[in-house]
């Protein structure tokens, strides 16, 4: 192997252009491809910036040519050469540097490479486990490098924005107290305090509130968080959060600040104009019109309540549902009255998944109405249904009758599914909105208790505060979610800043006074030493970058993600550790070790 001694890299590949014709340059990078042709060796040299073609000629530099003959894919090279123009017929329009090539005059082979297990190029169809095992090769692919660079640019722009707006980035502890409320904590045994454990943060929620008590006024942090959950496709045991908290601002001021932040990010990193303000939709409206608290507004097809239109027919199913406090709602799938019968049957199964026992339909074809249910309705009622749903010839109505929660879930999902099938979603569109006025509590049927819908530090609307003692289910919270294209990318709230109210909320979710003090006593105490009104929000960074990069998995925007079984296949983590390590921590594992892992 050679060294770079005496050579200093002058440019990245993509810096080069035809204005530099004749200039001497020194490049470093990887061999993307080598071709030999008529006494010439062509090497596509790739670095982080792009690719450029190097030409070695047997006539000009015989010894260097000889060395170039030994070069193979993914070798690491340092090349000195002169920029030259390609002849018109050899210009490569697919590459940014396609008008030029470099005539190699000096070649250093900095390292050799074995043949990689997959091609280092975009859109390559490789098993993801193989990609993760050889992540260092996967990350050499231009699209992965672009993803990581986008992530860098976005977080840089975030920090510029917050710094400019008077926010201070403050680091909060990773080794903190375990107080599992929602998800499971990752625990860290303490050696110095045997029998005791730290927890890794699920979020810095309490610390950021403590920072408001401490008078820091405007805090943000881009911070790692941890949740020991069973993993879904878009979850990771460790994830990154943009965490924000501010004092003395009301809800509306916070929402505007965050809209400006988002607009700034897209402008700075993607040159896109995001119109503000975003739509604010109440939770109630979102559930009623889209059957979801994270509605995708890139298309219409809203849910419509036809309970009044259908009421009083001979159709027992609808009548029973309505008599029991249920509702009948429909979506109008415009222009799809010719839906195959087979597909309709499939849709019935589809809505079953979301708890709906049945699906009714009305096809308004040129030949008239086709439907299994219209025979139960008078002509007048059928007209009512058609006009209530704005149905016209060619349209398809899909109808679900059930309890409101089931109608919302099933018809909301059906709306998304039909939009996908009919290709109604513009994948280039960016549809932001706020969902606001969430219920304060949800009733957990299993545990037979109220749980906080956001988290127990969320403040109720002022007008609802008094309901805490009498009717918590009726309370609305000062909570807000930011939604992008049907995905929640951020959520936050105005916080409680008063000990008495905080204690009542803990009580409402079933924490005894002792438990509340054990877990959150220091926060309750802090509230009594001059706590300003405050509120904040947290954004899921991985998901935000994923949407910006138009990827379908957050694993594509994380340098070293874990698999769905929470393992790192490259380094083989987690792993067994030595008995000595466990002994020092005063813990034992229930599992019998198959082999000791070194000393």
């Amino acid at each position: 192997m050679d060294t770079m001694v005496g050579l200093k890299r002058t440019h990245s590949c993509n810096d080069l252009n035809k204005a530099m014709n004749g200039e001497a340059v020194v490049l470093c990078g990887w061999v993307a491809r080598r071709r030999d042709h008529g006494g010439l060796i062509f090497i596509d040299l790739r670095d982080r910036s792009g690719i450029v073609q190097i030409v070695f000629s047997s006539d000009a530099y015989a010894d260097i040519f000889k060395k170039a003959e030994t070069v193979r894919s993914e070798y690491v090279l340092c090349v000195k050469g002169k920029v030259g123009l390609r002849s018109p017929e050899t210009v490569n329009a697919n590459v940014a540097t396609g008008e030029i090539e470099i005539y190699g005059e000096e070649l250093r082979i900095l390292n050799a490479a074995k043949t990689p297990p997959f091609y280092i190029q975009d859109n390559v169809d490789v098993d993801e486990l193989l990609r993760l095992k050889y992540r260092y090769l996967d990350l050499r692919r231009p699209e992965m490098q672009r993803n990581l660079m986008l992530r860098h640019h976005v977080t840089k722009a975030m920090r510029d924005f917050f710094d400019h707006n008077g926010f201070v980035e403050i680091e909060t502890p990773m080794l903190m107290k375990s107080s599992p409320e929602g998800a499971r904590d990752y625990l860290v045994p303490s050696r110095v305090n045997p029998g005791k454990f730290f927890a890794l943060p699920q979020s810095p929620q309490i610390f950021k509130q403590i920072l408001m008590v401490a008078g820091m006024e405007r805090y943000f942090q881009i911070v790692r968080c941890f949740r020991d959950e069973d993993l879904r496709a878009d979850r990771q045991p460790e994830f990154t959060q943009l965490d924000i908290e501010m004092s003395f601002l009301d809800r509306e001021e916070i929402l505007v600040m965050m809209e400006n932040m988002i607009a700034y990010l897209f402008k700075e990193t993607m040159k896109m104009d995001i119109p503000t303000p975003f739509l604010r939709l109440s939770y109630e409206d979102a559930m009623a019109r889209y059957g979801s608290d994270k509605p995708d507004l890139r298309f219409g097809m809203e849910l419509m309540d036809i309970s009044d239109a259908v009421r009083g027919s001979d159709f027992k199913v609808f009548e029973t549902v309505l008599a029991n406090g249920g509702q009948v709602k429909a979506i109008n799938v415009k222009g799809y009255s010719q839906i195959p019968r087979r597909e309709l049957d499939g849709l019935v199964e589809y809505v079953n998944i979301y708890g709906a026992k049945g699906l009714a339909w009305i096809c308004y074809t040129a030949e008239g109405i086709k439907s299994p249910i219209t025979k139960f309705f008078s002509e007048e009622k059928v007209q009512h249904i058609l006009s209530a749903t704005n149905a016209q010839e060619g349209d398809l109505l899909l109808i679900i009758a059930d309890k409101p929660a089931v109608v919302a879930a099933a018809l909301g999902q059906l709306r998304l599914e039909m939009a996908r099938r009919l290709n109604l979603i513009d994948s280039d569109a960016l549809s932001f909105l706020w969902v606001v006025d969430f219920p304060m509590f949800e009733y957990d049927e299993e545990e037979k208790r109220w749980t906080a819908m956001h988290h127990p530090f969320t403040a109720p609307r002022d007008e609802d505060a008094a309901l805490i003692d009498t009717n918590p289910g009726q309370m609305k919270a000062k909570a807000y979610d930011m939604i992008l294209n049907g995905t929640e990318i951020g959520g936050g709230s105005i916080r409680i800043y008063n000990r008495d109210l905080q204690e009542k909320v803990f009580k409402a979710i079933g924490l005894s006074k002792e438990e509340a003090m054990e877990k959150f006593g220091y926060l309750l105490e802090a509230f009594e030493y001059g706590t300003p009104p405050h509120g904040g929000i947290a954004f899921g960074l991985d998901r935000m970058i994923m949407l910006m990069a138009k990827r379908s998995s957050i694993r594509d925007v994380i340098a070293f993600p874990k698999t769905q079984s929470a393992t790192d296949v490259m380094t083989q983590a987690p792993s067994e550790v030595s008995p000595a390590q466990l002994k020092e921590l005063s813990i034992k594992t229930d599992i019998v070790l198959k082999k000791p892992a070194g000393k």
Copy 2:
């Protein structure tokens, strides 16, 4: 309590000045002090920016005056008022806003406050445990707020610098593989993979090298790291590192890049010019001249070898040391020949701590030489000693004879101690330097094996690489430390990027082939797929900020530090957790729980 409804904060306290005379403003903040005087109430309102005086008059707004009478220290207020000029005799030159005051016209009490357990002001003498328990009050003190804001500005400037220089900030995993080499790992039991453990990173060393293999070329990250060590005054179980790695640059290019970074930070955040380049001192020279690999160059008093000058006398102590490969070295404490005898005796005890069995001295007073050892030396030899140490009338020579390592440790510490006692250190000076050419290995007498002086991924100098099989103790590494005022603030190296050499280094430090593969197999394998030459460095952020803020403890620049027993006294972490939590993780603790911690 009131709300801010209808009021919108217009300024921070420190924004106000006499040019705004007559302007209406809305301020929010905490009551730093209230005084009542002749029908007026004066409130010093404090926010993150500073303090301003508010005046409420019983004549002008009787109801507001009444409300102001209820206000006490640390109450949270929102005040609307008009800026007015103070009369010349009431101007307060100690406060930035001392020329003005605000005539209060509207007062909202946003929250009350109990009397804090200590005063919220600078330079207050409070037990640190109390400060940590009420950290939210401690952090309200202006000096603590300044420290956290400095930290924010420094990390912001770092990110600006690295972004501008083509570095990409990339997040590496926190849940990684345990491979304890130096310090103890913090472990995290895996629930999904029972019996297996993650480790929290001691540094992202291997991941950043993998990112170089992945072609990212220039990486940085400001990242939390963890070491489960017994804590000294300036250590924390979790600490923050500025972590950097780059490809295709040689040592000198890396040092220059880092000097530029430091100069940029000090210029941006403290308006100070740091001269570059920094001095480069070899490890050998640093040890010889200062007895330390992190010399404080804010003063002279170098160690001088007087072995040749003293050799061949009747003084048995020196002769024996020299005969056994030891050395005799001195420092010249200029102008301190009148040192009290008592203090000299204390110095003997002082050097004992560092392993020196004795301390000789020569006082060159106006009355002549005073010394317990000169009687063993000829007149000529005494003159030799004086000239070799550049001693003049009034000087004090302190002399240690021992093995080189002991002389360095004891005389190096004595040099620092004498400088402190004689107040030779300019606390405003900033003395940066590089120590380079460290030995590759140190011999661990206890474990009877070589250990890596930096870490086992450090490359040897090219000319020394061949010694790995024959004489590892003679090898010098391409390692470098950045020293500021006698403290190591950063350390790094050019890395090995070749599997064969890396395996030999693992072998040299006593790792078997199997252990090396078990722990670092993926890195060894990665080296074979086209690894560029690369190197990097890591800076201890906490310590760097501490030095910039002129604090003596890193706890003063960390928002929520742990105590020396690795606990958080505010939140009471670590804590006992529920048996159910442990069971889910398939672990048991050896310690009997005193009480279950909730459900």
